[in-house]
């Protein structure tokens, strides 16, 4: 069972995180102080750390900087009330792996933690992604469903790569927008849905089982239906 260290000084938020992760079968330990958090984070049993950036004692940015300086590579999800892009960039530069703005939707948080968990487990750099009969060759830049080669636009290729790397996981629209496009604002409307729709039309033709699934209220997931 995966184990997560929650470094968070706000009781309500900490409880929320713990409850939501528990409902997905993830154990959590909670620490309310930066110094203590840094000490506990060295424990190699933790798979992911969620880190509030505004902490008493040692602030979040310092925690992560020292953590990385000690050579501890546990993925860190930073959680902050500041939505500023600069703040995010500073956090990621210090060694954070992902950034979430408070208040957050629990499913968004879980989806991000989930991505970090899996990244922790399979670090190997794959060059050929395969889900069911869908194949993506990252070196030759070729996508294939069964025997048919798919012609994808660059963005569609990146989108598919992201979905396939995290096959079986729920990816929220915000995560997709941030990772595939690298934009950190609210695109509004149904922009991501339209892009997914395009990709879906190319991959899930009438003759084969659909791979891209809409997760209601959250986002999308690419997975083989059983």
């Amino acid at each position: 069972m995966p184990r997560i260290l929650v470094i968070e000084d706000d009781d309500v938020t900490a409880r929320e995180i713990a409850a939501e992760l528990a409902s997905h079968g993830i154990d959590t330990d909670r620490v309310a102080d930066g110094c203590e958090g840094l000490a506990r984070a060295a424990d190699p049993r933790y798979d992911v750390i969620t880190l509030d950036l505004m902490l008493p004692g040692l602030d979040g940015l310092n925690v992560i900087t020292q953590l990385r300086a000690q050579g501890i590579a546990t993925p860190v999800l930073m959680i902050s009330a500041l939505s500023d892009v600069d703040e995010r960039v500073r956090g990621l530069r210090a060694g954070g792996d992902d950034y979430l703005t408070k208040p957050f939707a629990p499913d968004e948080m879980v989806a991000r933690v989930d991505v970090l968990l899996r990244r922790h487990r399979q670090q190997a750099q794959q060059t050929l992604l395969r889900v069911s009969d869908l194949e993506l060759d990252l070196v030759r830049h070729v996508a294939r469903r069964g025997d048919t080669e798919l012609s994808l636009l660059p963005t569609e290729f990146k989108l598919l790569e992201f979905l396939m790397r995290h096959a079986g996981q729920v990816l929220t629209r915000a995560m997709i927008f941030e990772t595939v496009w690298g934009f950190h604002f609210d695109p509004g409307t149904n922009l991501i849905d339209v892009h997914i729709g395009r990709l879906r039309k190319k991959i899930d033709t009438a003759s084969c089982a659909p791979l891209i699934h809409t997760v209601r209220g959250s986002g999308y997931s690419l997975a083989q239906t059983d």
């Binding site: 208040p103 509004g188 922009l191």
Partner: protein
């Protein structure tokens, strides 16, 4: 900029002009008075002298009178005096004056001879007084005296007046101009500060010197006013932000509850569909709060740390690629026209956000089958980016209002959206020192962002 004539509008210059003209006028009056006094005194003295001499000469016997008359002329070295002797009919008998002035009374009264007198010795008079007396034998004796000295004194006084005035007025005016430069320089300093204040930078204050004069008092009053305005605006914005911030947390929790509840129902059940609708409503609310907080975040962001040289064309290509599928889905054409563009100094992420908002808006308000055009053009002081659509356009009277928070044109109340998109764009524009222009295009609206080069602004 500052013109020379501006100096004359200052209070100091006006005071100096008023005082200057007052003193000049007073000087004219005083000197006029002196002139009048001197002239009348000299006239009186001349009159008395001529009258007495005429009386005196008439009483002497003939040989003595001749001597006396000759002495009268030759003792006066400036040839002011002259005489003439005439018979009872006015014919000349002796003397240097050979014609009686016409109409002169022969009773010893001193009169002015307006036409002047001609003397046989060559010393003619223009301004002259004369007295004629009848001698005992019936002959007429004319005694005259040149009184042009009275006029000459008038001229001297007038010249003194002119010199005096010019020596007072010219340095006075120059001094006034010099004196008024100080206050004007301060006015210009104040104007330089007020420009950013007018553009919304309420942190600036008018300069106050240590002199504590009337300008400083005024600047102090204005500064106190600005403090108050800044405080009030901050309060209003703070209240707005606090509401948005405080409501966001419970809303997020509400959304989480609905989400969890929805997960318990079958995907096709009617409960699930209702809850789905609840979720999307909550999401719309959260989006709105997020946008609101984003604007205040942008407005508070005075620093330009994220600024770097960015490739505007690249940004526009990205935005175009991002929105192309959406436009095509709605049956619209999304075109991109890019000339050679220089790189500009800006925050890449913010520009992406601004153009995304502009293009997203244009697509939203353009009917199916319409056309949205992203077009860049170069200008002397930085490139322009136009986003033109073939939508309903924005009426002239609503063009300022659309950049305000929450404002939505009357005609598009039914279109989903937060109404904050253009406010975000205008906040980003302000942060960069760019201008957002809203105008008509050939068949819809044109929203243009002028990426003004900060150096040339």
């Amino acid at each position: 900029m500052r013109r020379l004539t501006d100096n004359w509008r200052s209070t100091t210059a006006r005071l100096i002009l008023i005082y200057g003209s007052f003193f000049a006028l007073w000087g004219i009056v005083v000197i006029g008075l002196i002139h009048w006094q001197a002239a009348s005194y000299l006239t009186r003295v001349s009159n008395e002298l001529i009258g007495r001499q005429a009386d005196y000469f008439s009483m002497l016997d003939e040989p003595t009178r001749r001597h006396a008359l000759n002495d009268y002329v030759s003792l006066e070295t400036r040839h002011l005096n002259a005489w003439g002797l005439f018979d009872a009919h006015g014919r000349s008998l002796a003397g240097t004056i050979t014609a009686l002035p016409p109409g002169i009374p022969v009773n010893g009264a001193v009169v002015i001879v307006p036409q002047g007198l001609t003397r046989t010795d060559g010393h003619s008079h223009m301004s002259v007084r004369a007295a004629a007396v009848r001698l005992d034998d019936g002959r007429i004796l004319l005694v005259t005296r040149d009184t042009s000295i009275v006029d000459r004194i008038g001229t001297i006084i007038l010249q003194a007046l002119l010199w005096g005035i010019s020596l007072t007025v010219v340095p006075g005016l120059f001094g006034g101009w010099l004196l008024s430069r100080g206050p004007l320089r301060r006015i210009h300093a104040i104007r330089e500060v007020t420009l950013p204040i007018m553009h919304g930078d309420l942190t600036r204050r008018l300069p106050v010197s240590r002199r504590g004069d009337e300008l400083d008092m005024l600047a102090g009053i204005v500064n106190a006013m600005l403090d108050e305005i800044e405080r009030l605006l901050g309060e209003v914005k703070g209240v707005c932000d606090n509401i948005a911030h405080d409501l966001r947390t419970p809303l997020t929790r509400l959304r989480a509850r609905i989400y969890r509840l929805q997960q318990q129902f079958d995907e096709d059940s009617s409960e699930s569909t209702t809850l789905e609708a609840c979720l999307s409503d909550t999401d719309a609310l959260l989006d709105r709060f997020r946008a609101l907080l984003r604007i205040s975040e942008l407005e508070n962001q005075q620093r330009r740390a994220g600024f770097d040289q960015v490739d505007l064309a690249e940004i526009l290509r990205e935005v175009h690629a991002l929105y192309l599928p959406l436009a095509e889905d709605r049956g619209q054409q999304l075109a991109l026209e890019l000339p050679q563009l220089p790189s500009i100094r800006a925050d890449r992420h913010l520009l992406l956000e601004a153009f995304s908002n502009l293009v997203g808006n244009a697509i939203k308000f353009t009917p199916s089958g319409g056309r949205v055009n992203i077009r860049a053009r170069t200008a002397e002081d930085g490139p322009w980016v136009d986003v033109c659509d073939s939508g309903p356009g924005i009426p002239v009277d609503q063009r300022v209002a659309v950049t305000r928070r929450f404002y939505r044109a009357e005609s598009c109340r039914s279109t989903p959206g937060s109404g904050l998109g253009l406010s975000i764009v205008s906040a980003i524009a302000r942060l960069h020192g760019y201008t957002l222009e809203i105008a008509d295009s050939e068949n819809g609206a044109r929203l243009s962002l002028h990426c003004r080069d900060a150096a040339s602004a």
